[in-house]
């Protein structure tokens, strides 16, 4: 006897990356920023008056949204604050995808999407990336055939690190009659010379929703804060209808605002991550890995011929180094490695050299 809905009873939950305790563990498995949050975040924490917690928080995080609007040169009405980026994904499905309708993403993609589809009781379809992880030439044609309500593209892509241009995204959005959700969880780590931005596309189109998170770029995975950017016709139903009435708390709103206002600090951490990404890429190749070019804070590396990705994952774990190994088609022979501090990366490289 179960009271679960049939679709819930059938499904498996999302499996988050391992979160082992212990001070000596080098954790390169869940794409956290290796640097701490900005000093202004600590100051904001120290300024919290706990007496204010007895009252409900500002329901739509208006101060945070104004700070984001200033940063991107857009209006607060184009922004929704969410309890992590994951909440925005859930809200988007709740609001725009009916049970029985269909969502589409690429294969591979973020492994949370099929879980959200099962919860919503909608269909989940994947369109395979090419072998070099680029988009198939007839992506839009394949997408049309699914009659999907929503297409989710991670950009830059997880777990491969590839970046699609804003022009390409615009072409997809214009050719697709549903909502195009662009999951930009890793956008802060894109090389500056790419001059990538989809913000204008999101605010001027009627069907493009951008996801941003403070988990990675702002070193605040523990705070659960993200936001969505889009046309008011997409933002408002989530803001005023489907969102939990007070979805973000007072402390998180204040700390997130401080982080967003600390752009100089954040940019320094992104620069360091990009430098280390380059070094790690080069040195992994020198060890025999095949490494996909990455615009994120992680690398997807194919284990060298004669070695086995799962064994390398296990060997690293025995040495207190966690990376991610996916038991998934096209990924079994690879490791996804978050870029750590220079010291963490050097220890990873030494451990891999020993194991190989």
């Amino acid at each position: 006897m179960t009271f679960e809905r049939p679709n819930i009873a059938r499904m498996q939950g999302y499996k988050p990356g391992e979160q082992l305790d212990g001070g000596n563990i080098i954790k390169l498995n869940t794409n956290e920023n290796p640097y701490p949050p900005a000093p202004a975040v600590t100051e904001a924490l120290q300024d919290i008056d706990t007496a204010a917690l007895r009252r409900y928080p500002p329901p739509t995080a208006s101060t945070f949204r104004q700070a984001v609007a200033n940063l991107h040169g857009i209006q607060p009405e184009n922004i929704i604050a969410t309890n992590g980026g994951d909440e925005l994904l859930r809200l988007a499905l709740t609001t725009f995808v009916s049970p029985g309708a269909c969502i589409v993403t690429t294969q591979p993609s973020y492994s949370l999407y099929p879980v959200l589809a099962e919860i919503q009781g909608c269909e989940y379809r994947e369109i395979a990336l090419n072998d070099d992880w680029s988009m198939p030439q007839d992506f839009l044609g394949q997408l049309e055939q699914t009659a999907a309500s929503m297409c989710l593209l991670v950009n830059p892509h997880a777990p491969t690190g590839q970046l699609l241009s804003a022009d390409y995204l615009e072409t997809i959005s214009k050719g697709f009659p549903g909502v195009l959700l662009i999951d930009e969880a890793y956008v802060d780590f894109v090389d500056e010379d790419q001059a990538y931005s989809a913000i204008e596309l999101a605010t001027t189109s009627d069907n493009v929703l951008l996801l941003r998170t403070l988990s990675k770029g702002y070193s605040l995975a523990g705070l659960r804060f993200g936001y969505g950017i889009g046309n008011r016709s997409l933002i408002e139903p989530m803001q005023f209808k489907t969102r939990d009435s007070y979805n973000t708390d007072l402390i998180a709103q204040k700390l997130a605002t401080a982080a967003i206002q600390s752009q100089d600090y954040a940019r320094e951490t992104w620069k360091s991550v990009r430098q280390e990404r380059k070094r790690l890429h080069t040195e992994l190749e020198a060890l025999g890995f095949m490494v996909a070019p990455s615009q994120t804070n992680f690398l997807l590396a194919t284990a060298p011929a004669g070695s086995d990705a799962e064994s390398l994952y296990q060997g690293l774990k025995q040495r207190q180094i966690l990376v991610r190994h996916f038991q998934q088609p096209r990924l079994e022979d690879k490791l996804r490695i978050s870029v750590g501090t220079p010291d963490e990366n050097s220890k990873l490289l030494s451990a891999l050299a020993e194991l190989l």
Copy 2:
């Protein structure tokens, strides 16, 4: 052109109580605790190391759940931590109520329930309370006729303040073939001589889910923290399938744990609220209000003959005192007044005396 699902396009969102700014406002409209959170909450805040925020938080708030388990003498497996009590309500519908199925509550009840039903695309039915706000004698019979998947009872009840006994709830749970969700948002304010507890019922039944929140009893509405108690067969699908992977943040987990561990402090605030509830009840009656007996931290008071509840609400607002007035059947002639500090309550009573 809208991308909203038809049920979302049709619906109105939940209207939270007013949250006016300004230091001089006496806010007796959203049932917040008039006292600040426990000193241990402030200490926990001061102990936060912001560097820890770069990592994901414990996904199921295990330390918090252990503290709650110790408090209630139950197991952590019977507990789910949620981003406010509202998240538990949403999760319960997502997990146990299919689109097209039905949820039932009383009339009147918490005005969020019909909004959640619209989002989930399920039917919403109400069974009217008697004129004295007691349950109709054939409640179970009326409930059976709806073939509902879930019945939601606020206990003690909002907005009337009535308490149902645990024995009565047990009878309902045994006669009802769906999930009985008991929303105990206000349970901390029940008089101790009532010796009310539904915890044993929740952990020994297979279909009873209790909702608790730290918003009211622990003065933490701004923190967004609640929890559910139930049989593992009800808790686990929400814990491991339908919940956002990291639904509560690290800071909130630590502060909520400190609050739960500060029982002596919390009990003192509940005692003060009960004392003031009694005084406010007596003095409102002396002004000509008809006041329903309340086991919560608010009173539902019918405006005296010859006066008008809406005008009283507006008159109080002009005097910087906020109470709640519902434009709803059976409630238009009433005010819902949160119990404040002795000083706030005295100012309310003086203002009402002037207005009448």
